[in-house]
Amino acid sequence: MKFTLGWLKEFLDTDATLDEVVDRLTMVGLEVEGVEDRATGLEEFVIAHVTEAVQHPDADRLRVCTVDFGGDEPVQVVCGAPNARTGMKGVFARSGLHIPGTGITLKKAEIRGVESNGMLLSEREMGLSDEHDGIIDLDADSPVGTPAVAVMGLDDPVIEIAITPNRGDCLGVRGIARDLAASGLGALKPLNANPVPGALDSPIKVHLDFETDTADACPYFVGRYVRGVTNGESPKWLKDRLIAIGLRPISALVDITNLMTVGYNRPLHVFDADKVEGDIHVRLATPGETLLALDGKEYTLDDAMTVIGDDTHAEALGGVMGGEESGCTETTVNVFVESAYFDPIRTAKTGRKLNLMSDARYRFERGIDPEFLIDGMEIATRLIQDLCGGEVSENVIAGAPPVWQRSIDLRLDRVRTLGGVEIAADECIRILEVLGFTVARDGDTLKTEAPAWRSDIVDEACLVEEIIRVNGYDKIPAVPFINDHNLPHTSYSSFQRRRASVRRRAATRGLVEAVTYSFLPGAQADLFGGVPDGLRLINPISSDLDVMRPSLLPNLIAATGRNSDKGVPNGALFEVGPVFHGETPGEQSQILAGIRCGDMQVRSWVGPARSVDAFDAKADALALLDDLGAPTPRLQVFTEAPHWYHPGRSGELRLGPKTTLARFGEVHPGVLRKMGVKGPVVAFEILLENLPEPKTRKSAAKPHLELPNLHPVERDFAFVVSSDTPAEKVLGAARGADKALIADVRLFDVFEGGNLENGMKSVAINVILQPSEKTLTDAEIEEIAARVVERVQSTTGGSLRT
């Protein structure tokens, strides 16, 4: 919302400076977004009278002008403008001034042998526009020697403020003035909305043609016929004002409607009455009905939209935009002015459906003052009469204002108990009254009636806000917000705490945390199991981000591809975040996923490079599961990882046969190829929500620790088993040989080939026996060793390698 300081002061009686106004606007909640003082740098330029302009003796295109600029003596200026002529008034810059449009500082000069002292300026030279066909040509009555910015209407700073959706009333300059007045920055000037007497009966009547259940679309309509207007150019003050706020002056009638819209938040429409057939009918559109609007576009309407029509067809879209056909032109002589109330919601819906924004829609959908239709009409008709002449009819009034009255009680104590600041009752009353409320005090309660223009005021909290806002939030003392207890409790749930910890554990393992979008291209989602249609965005930001992600991996893999392309290979990334399998809250789950690509160890003088492999991912998964408190020794490896993994080099870590805690392995080369990423890439995914909740224990004490005094004994074994025997089977069998004595079984070698039979492999293990009570005798050790061999052989069908 843009307006000028001068415009504001037309409504607000104040001595406040621009800076004071700007600060106060922000502090009452009308946030200033910018201030443009167009006079900056132009203050020294003055109005000058060209007392004589004669041909330059040596240059066809130059004139030698004698310029009176209000100084002691006239000066001589050589000027190249074609419109420089004797008797004109222009803008003069004397020697020594800086010309903003050219960046040059003027000096006394000699041009083709003739002295030139100063310059007559074009708009481009003043930095106002690109206009450079001639010098500025001002009205003959412009006073010589006075600042040009004043005469040109540039000395009025433009203020732009942001209006929050609740403050439709401040979409008019007068509403802004009211807020400032309430805050003590001057007084709101009284409104001059005295009736303009009607001299004739309107030949056009108004009919509100609605069914009962849609009558709220346009409950109230005020119209007025003006006969015999002259719709010429607006006067300079009006044009200056509109130009200052970025509007283009069109004609007096149109400019008056814009002035009413911005000044009073009262959008109006002026019909060319001679193009209206019969009466005005306000009604819902018939489906498929079309309207050529003032923006030159044809809109197809439906029966939820309000139109203003005549006896035959739609002439305007109520609250949104007028029609081209019945719009005013310079030849218009008879007009019908509309000042109506349109339902905010219907207006908003209409505009959205047609994708049509206008100053009128913007205001109607925020709610305009339903009691200002007649006043607005009087002010507008007075302007029309002043600027365009004509004879005015009586007002044609259809319908009545919608019910807007709201009585709200304010318990005075609520200013302190909700607003946190003590404000005297009299001041509360003063603030509300200046804002337009009627207030009656009843003991500790204020009985208030909200003004018609404040549809946002609905309850006591709103009144508290009005009072403390206008009084100033800076006057609310900050109160320490202290914890109820001396020491804070834990902010995190057990799950959140473990998730925060494992994130840092992942980073200590060399993985770099990434945060990627929750959406991705549908084609990539399909590579990772796909998503149901319910997870396809209706309005994606681009086709590359059109579905919710079913996995964290595609974004991470794509990221390492991008990093590789930038010359940063061997990425190790992880992310903790949501994946989606359906649209209900229960179908969103938290995953920790990581990938490593390229080399796990880069080549160095110590040794050659080693590519990442599935066991790097397995190590990550197990280390992080351990950090999360999962019972890692009890986890089983299943070789049934999802299809985006290498079918022979991947697995799932499960607790029991059904609960998958993690997956790991090489990413399927086919998936990488489709994503255009060079492998190898290994990945792991931890399904955080599948982890068992740690048991809540009564005590933080750890179990008793018994350190054995006796030295452990180690024995190595090598077994020949069929190549498809899982190593875990050998290890498990060995462990089971004596659960009390065998403390650990480690696998230290696997090989195939050599003199082994085809289809067989050798698995070498190291069994550690930990006696607890007495040293083992050789015979006892041999006995356990025999049991290990026997169990491994019977479980795997293999044999001890000899």
């Binding site: 908003a348 946190g420 939030y473 945390e513």
Partner: protein
């Protein structure tokens, strides 16, 4: 005796002249081994008369022990010099780089959220989370944003089809729906913060279709605007590490709070860069307000008894301001060079006691 003296001098010379531990061992065997000279002489003592034997025995023992000491000393000298020689031989170029290893990094978004939690946790807030895909009620209607409210248009909402009918689902446009979920399912008082992903259908230099917020909600019987100011001023001072950070509150509008405010903090743009702290300018930092009674009622909470405040903090914005990160969009690009530069060491865990700004 002369024999012994000359033998001593001979043996000492040969020990001195031995070139290796092997030579020394040879000397030992030759003199003191089973068939060694000194051994033989010891054996010969038995033939002497007792008087002579005692003196000769003492002398011989002395010789034997002196030679043994000399051998041992010489041996240890040799071992030392052999070790020295070997170590010199093992000399390596200590300017060689160590084995390559890399530590990971924590993303600035995670770090910033943990910082926020660390501060507000001290004030008794608990961390609550909620779903990213929301229904209309939780994201809008319950928060006092009815279907045709202009505020709803400003949210640039992403929609999902839902179950095909009128009830489309949305990607939550703010973390505020978790306020609703919390209040619907619990009993006041509440003191919660809600970090999480949020989504708006907007993408340019200063907007990302996904970003993060931390929502705060306090509901009890007496918390008012003064507490809101106290809480948020203290929060910003701790977060930015500026003890006397200027702060101001301006009236604003959010449908779910009444009164509503925006908070600005002091800053300066002198010298081109933005610096948080004392200065000639203000920077908008967050939105806040007293919970709108309608929102409380929508959640079944008696607004004549309970009140409180709510606020919303943009995590990326806070991180950008605190850590001088210039471009919002880079947060989600997963560029390893960026992550290593702006990311945090995993052991740099924010806490108020341990220090928030290490």
């Amino acid at each position: 005796m002369e024999d012994l003296d000359s033998l001593r001098s001979e043996l000492m010379t040969s020990v001195e002249g031995a070139a290796s531990i092997d030579d020394l061992e040879a000397i030992r065997v030759a003199e003191m081994g089973k068939k060694g000279r000194i051994t033989a002489m010891m054996k010969g003592l038995g033939n002497l008369d007792p008087e002579t034997r005692k003196a000769a025995g003492q002398n011989l023992n002395k010789l034997k022990s002196d030679v043994a000491d000399a051998l041992e000393t010489r041996k240890s000298e040799m071992a030392d010099s052999e070790l020295d020689a070997r170590l010199m031989d093992e000399r390596m170029d200590m300017t060689l780089p160590p084995r390559p290893e890399e530590e990971g990094r924590i993303h600035p978004i995670s770090q910033t959220i943990e910082e926020v939690v660390a501060i507000l946790g001290e004030m008794g807030f608990s961390v609550i989370e909620g779903p990213d895909i929301e229904d209309d009620w939780h994201n809008f209607t319950a928060l006092n944003i009815p279907p045709d409210h202009p505020a709803r248009q400003e949210h640039d909402t992403f929609y999902l089809p839902g179950n095909g009918g009128d009830e489309r689902l949305v990607l939550r446009t703010h973390t505020s729906p978790v306020q609703i979920r919390t209040m619907e399912s619990g009993e006041p008082p509440f003191r919660i913060i809600v970090p999480g992903r949020t989504y708006r259908c907007d993408y340019d230099a200063t907007h990302s279709p996904m970003f993060h917020q931390v929502e705060g909600l306090v509901v009890d019987r007496e918390t008012h605007m003064g507490h809101l100011k106290g809480c948020l001023i203290e929060f910003c001072r701790a977060f930015f590490g500026v003890d006397d950070l200027p702060a101001r509150f301006r009236p604003s509008y959010f449908p779910f709070t009444e009164p509503s405010a925006e908070m600005d903090i002091g800053c300066t743009r002198e010298g081109g860069g933005l610096r948080i702290g004392h200065g000639d300018d203000w920077l908008e930092i967050l939105g806040c307000g007293m919970v709108n009674p309608k929102v409380l009622e929508n959640c079944g909470i008696d607004s004549s008894v309970y009140q409180g405040f709510a606020f919303g903090i943009g995590i990326e914005r806070m991180a950008m301001l605190k850590y001088g990160i210039p471009d919002l969009r880079t947060f989600y690009e997963s560029d390893l060079r960026w992550l290593r530069h702006y990311g945090f060491s995993p052991l740099n865990v924010p806490s108020m006691v341990g220090g928030l700004n290490q």
